[in-house]
């Protein structure tokens, strides 16, 4: 009751106090000795002088941006979960964790300042917005690097020509931190010009992902995320049944292929941005700097050797210096810069889980099936070295615990490191073998059969010398025609089918259609990398709409694009892979399709 309110009447109107009267009672306001209408409001009442409203929790926009960062990291192949919380004072924080639950990014907002920390950062970085965080990160990197004074900084974001979504900025920063990056991400945009996907394309793609409006499911996820500090994983899990209801089998396969195929470009885009905001020592582009250039050159040499030996395409592939191969150099350099375990942990100021180190993080990149696929596609050199030891690639079966996966991956990491120096030789040796074992154990024959089983009605069973073959087309009619007169001008598909049936059944004598493999231009066996994986899924997807025919036995599968079988030899390619479980997949398709999936140059 001690509060006194002073209402200021309008200056142009006489004070009308009738409304203050109620019978005999009159409510009076103390004007504190001032003439009515003349007093001035205290300055601190003015809006500009009011203290900034204290934000509580993340705003919707912030949460949407953070969620998009997760989406971008997912797309770039960084295995992560997102969780959030608020302090006892209401300040928000969120963390990005590995699938093992270890925190690798802590982001918070206190007093309108963002702070970001990571085990890979010597000191936390702060800023008023995401771009500011990156600026501080870059400044720290410049100060730390003795070559800073002579370094060249490419500022993509400040010339006004390149728009970057805030989520893309933050994702690029986290990506950089994740791979301990500022002196390792050395992908130069100009290096990519005219070779495969350019940096601009990657950044455009990145922006497309970041700018893409969240679909209904994602919006629901964000809404849940806003309401309660649920984990993003929980949200995504909750969405799964809904997603399964909405998606058809075909969309699922094609979608996965598209996602996988787009993962590397996303990574390239993030790297490009990371470089733009970080530092690039001119040493990386100075041939006189042998050490740093060596890191760039090695994977390219390996790749060229591989392709020379396996596909006899040396001239084409020697010049193949796409962004992916540059990133191979990046990751290779990462392995060569794994922090010394003897470093005093107190040297790291971070308060985040101290038991994470770069090697663990990288192992987790390489260990987890789906993201590992992306990493494998990036780290071409390591992928190659995986093929060195047959016949038991590391198995990342679903029933393995993440720790087991990581442990296995660490073993593979060692293997990659020890075999790197001899990769060229071993690749040439491997080229002599018919099929190179796959490192991608996550993709096994069972998953393929799950798909083909869904098309059971489309298959017919044929018996060739006791060997049961299932096919989506009438093999018998073709073999009968061909066997009747193998010298006739048989349809062009016959030689290829003859060859494939021979391969499938290993019964050359009984299924000799009189042809050879003239119908296909080349027979190339390569490791089942992420591109092959995506291509097989693409072919399976196309089979569901009748564009690709399938022949399968108990442990072998052939996918045939009939357009390819009817095309000229120069336009077709025949390729096979061994899956993780020892079963095989063969494909016959159009050269353009293989090129699109980077399976050939």
């Amino acid at each position: 009751m001690s509060n006194i309110f002073n209402f200021r009447p309008k200056k142009t109107e006489p004070l009308n106090s009738d409304f203050l009267k109620d019978a005999d009672d009159t409510v009076e306001f103390d004007l504190i000795g001032c003439e009515a209408g003349t007093e001035e409001l205290p300055q601190h009442f003015l809006r500009d002088d009011l203290p900034c409203p204290v934000l509580q929790d993340w705003s919707n926009q912030e949460l949407a941006n953070i969620y998009r960062v997760k989406k971008l990291l997912d797309a770039a192949g960084v295995p992560n979960t997102l969780e959030r919380g608020i302090t006892d004072e209401g300040d928000p924080w969120c963390i990005f964790c590995t699938h093992g639950g270890e925190v690798f990014i802590h982001l918070c907002r206190v007093n309108n300042l963002y702070t970001l920390d990571s085990p890979n950062l010597r000191n936390p970085i702060t800023g008023v917005d995401f771009a500011d965080l990156i600026a501080e990160f870059s400044a720290g990197a410049l100060a730390k690097n003795p070559a800073a004074s002579r370094s060249r900084v490419i500022q993509l974001q400040r010339n006004g020509k390149v728009f970057l979504h805030p989520s893309a900025l933050l994702a690029a920063l986290i990506w950089s931190i994740y791979i301990n990056s500022e002196d390792l991400v050395m992908l130069a945009p100009e290096d990519e010009a005219g070779a495969g996907l350019g940096a601009d394309d990657s950044i455009n793609l990145l922006n497309e992902v970041a700018l893409a409006p969240l679909d209904a499911g994602e919006a629901t996820a964000v809404a849940h995320f806003m309401d309660t500090p649920l984990t993003a994983d929980q949200i995504i899990s909750a969405r799964q049944p809904e997603a399964e209801r909405d998606g058809t089998m075909f969309r699922d396969f094609v979608g996965k292929s598209a996602m996988v195929a787009s993962a590397a470009p996303i990574a390239v885009g993030l790297s490009s941005i990371a470089i733009a905001f970080g530092i690039m020592s001119e040493g990386f582009f100075d041939p006189a700097d042998d050490t740093e250039m060596a890191a760039l050159d090695l994977p390219v040499v390996e790749d060229s050797a591989d392709n020379t030996a396996v596909a006899d395409q040396s001239s084409a592939d020697a010049s193949r210096n796409t962004a992916q191969f540059d990133l191979a150099a990046v990751l290779q350099a990462v392995f060569e810069h794994v922090p010394n375990p003897d470093v005093d942990p107190s040297a790291l100021s971070t308060e985040i889980a101290a038991d994470i180190d770069l090697s663990t993080l990288l192992s987790s990149i390489l260990a987890l099936p789906s993201p590992a696929d992306v990493a494998l596609s990036i780290a071409g050199g390591f992928q190659d070295s995986w093929a060195d030891e047959a016949p038991a690639p590391v198995t990342f079966a679903d029933d393995l615990s993440p720790e087991q996966k990581t442990a296995s991956a660490e073993g593979e990491l060692d293997k990659a490191q020890t075999t790197r120096s001899t990769t060229t030789d071993t690749q040439i040796e491997n080229a002599d073998s018919i099929i190179i074992n796959s490192p991608d154990a996550a993709f096994d024959f069972a998953s393929v059969l799950d798909f083909t089983a869904s098309m059971a009605d489309a298959f017919k069973t044929f018996d060739f010398g006791g060997v049961q073959i299932q096919a989506t087309f009438d093999i018998a009619s073709i073999t009968a025609t061909s066997s009747a007169d193998p010298t006739d001008d048989a349809p062009s598909i016959e030689p290829a089918i003859s060859d494939l049936l021979n391969t499938l059944t290993d019964t050359v004598d009984t299924i000799d259609l009189g042809g050879d493999i003239n119908g296909v231009s080349e027979e190339v066996y390569k490791p089942l990398d992420i591109n092959a994986h995506a291509f097989i899924q693409y072919m399976l997807g196309m089979s569901s709409v009748g564009e690709v025919e399938i022949v399968q036995t108990q442990n072998e599968l052939l996918l045939m694009d009939f357009d390819a079988l009817r095309a000229s030899a120069a336009e077709t390619v025949h390729m096979g892979w061994v899956l993780a479980d020892g079963n095989t997949v063969y494909t016959i398709g159009m050269r353009d399709d293989y090129m699109e999936y980077d399976l050939i140059a």
Partner: protein, 105 residues
């Protein structure tokens, strides 16, 4: 051989750290400290880390165990033993449960 190593699953680790977070929060509150005040005692760069830990995410860096014990008014040995029981339950069991004589030695 590495595959035979028994380790906690991420879910188990998360449960253990959640329980530890609750314990840490109780300790802090028993000292009548806010999260910010505890962070100040520990000279943390950002006090939200306290909230993160109390929510069972992440872990206290090993090299700061003693400082945390002091800040929360706990005996260092008993504090670290408690942390060990949550962070490294297998190690803790070997050291302190299966052979009590060794533990006290």
């Amino acid at each position: 051989m590495l595959a035979e190593v028994q380790k906690a699953t991420p879910e188990e680790a998360k449960e253990q750290r959640t329980a530890l977070g609750i314990w840490l929060k109780e300790l802090r509150e028993s000292q009548h400290l806010s999260q910010r005040e505890l962070a100040d005692r520990l000279s943390l760069d950002y006090y939200t880390f306290i909230s993160q830990l109390e929510n069972g995410r992440g872990r206290i860096p090993v090299h700061r165990y003693a400082e945390w014990a002091n800040a929360l008014g706990k005996d260092q040995r008993s504090f670290v033993r408690k942390l060990l029981s949550y962070y490294e339950p297998t190690t803790y069991k070997i050291l302190f449960e299966e052979d009590g004589t060794q533990a006290s030695a």
